[in-house]
Assembly symmetry: C2
Homo-oligomer: 220 residues x 2
DNA sequence: GGAGATAACATTGGATCAAATCATAACGGA
DNA sequence: TCCGTTATGATTTGATCCAATGTTATCTCC
């Protein structure tokens, strides 16, 4: 997310970044224990920077620390993920509504370029690339709403959701539909049709939600 | 926010809580430097827990840490605050829309009780109490939307906004209008009138935004 | 054999220390 | 007098140590 790139980073910041990436990329799974000594040795740091890194990640909500009991990767249950998902849909809809009056031809073109890239990756079977472009497309959508905080919250949620989905597998059937939805959305934006845009986003939300729920065991 | 209340807390957790409260209550102002040694002595801890506390607050976005240069309270500029404000309005609107079908008489009554409490505090000149009740009222509004993540984001934003407003002063003129708006909103909710509810929230947003902008020097 | 107490082990938590880095002040030369 | 350099002090950073706590395995007693 917003890691300082301007200067050489600390050991603590490096460790934070590495662990965050490991969590979000699925190398470490939710609920897994994070021991300072073990991580320190594996990453080549002392335990000190690790303690700071884990605290920072706790602040970000990715890690839970219980006193005298250590740190674990935050567990992702159905309620948490579906809340995040719903929140992100709300954020996209609100952002798009605000974005429409601000739309320029250049902005629409940049969305089209990403949609095209997405189709190409799907056609070429490059799944990981497609997922990345999908993220970029939606981030740009929210970005055009002009609210940095909304974008930050959105990206955080997106990354957590996808870390979760990585563990449970994606629905490959939705890939092509997604490409169509992107196109429909772009056309709605071109017409400055907020109602249609919202409808598309809500449909997408419903479909993805169904996909998610079908993959998760019912709430305990 | 989500501090563990179940067990006795660490020095690090205690320090985190104390510093967060100091920031949000305005005892420490934005941009101010946070030296580990100084804080450690003042709070009666060693420097170690302080380092962890500052890292956690960095993760929460309240504190900024620059490598080899130390920690400072995050600066709150016009863009950041107005973004947070806009985001919170969006969150309230989306939450209310979802809350309406789920409304019970009991829920409406609990909102009414808070609105009444608010009026009483205003009448009695108890400003701080009124502010707290106002927070509770809006939190409940979002809570009824049934999305925990949305609530968490909302409360975080609310607290930061009010930490900022504390430094710049509140508009006392809006107090009574606010009480009326609460009542109007409750009536709209009773009628299950989502359009009216949204309109009220948007009006409120516009008024508060104007109030905020008038208090802040224009963006640099 | 099973349940509870006890002991051994692993891990976290807090403190202290030395090195690295940054900020500030003093100094010297043009 | 002003600017660049150097030296001093303050602060962060990383490392290591010991105590406190939690966990696990072992042993004893019923």
């Amino acid at each position: 997310m917003g890691e300082p790139l301007d200067v050489a980073e600390n050991s603590a910041d490096q460790a934070t970044r590495l662990i965050r990436e490991a969590i979000l990329s699925g190398q470490i799974s939710p609920g897994e224990r994070l021991k300072t000594a073990e991580l320190a040795q594996r990453l080549g740091f002392s335990t000190m920077p690790l303690r700071e890194a884990l605290r920072k990640l706790e602040g970000e909500g990715l890690v839970e620390i219980e006193p005298n009991r250590g740190a674990t990767v935050r567990k992702l249950d159905r309620a948490y993920i579906s809340d995040l998902f719903e929140l992100n849909t709300d954020l996209r809809i609100c952002a798009v509504k605000r974005a429409i009056p601000l739309l320029t031809l250049e902005r629409i073109r940049s969305l089209e370029a990403l949609a095209q890239e997405y189709r190409d990756h799907i056609a070429g079977g490059q799944d990981l690339e497609a997922i990345r472009v999908n993220r970029d497309f939606n981030a740009k959508l929210v970005e055009f709403g002009g609210n940095r905080e909304a974008l930050r919250v959105f990206l955080r949620g997106w990354d957590i959701i996808f870390a979760f989905r990585r563990g449970y597998g994606y629905g490959t059937g939705r890939r092509r539909v997604m490409a169509e939805e992107m196109q429909l959305l772009i056309e709605a934006l071109r017409r400055h049709d907020a109602v249609a845009a919202e409808a598309i986003l809500r449909m997408q939300n419903a479909a993805m939600m169904e996909d998610l729920v079908s993959r998760i065991a019912p709430e305990v």
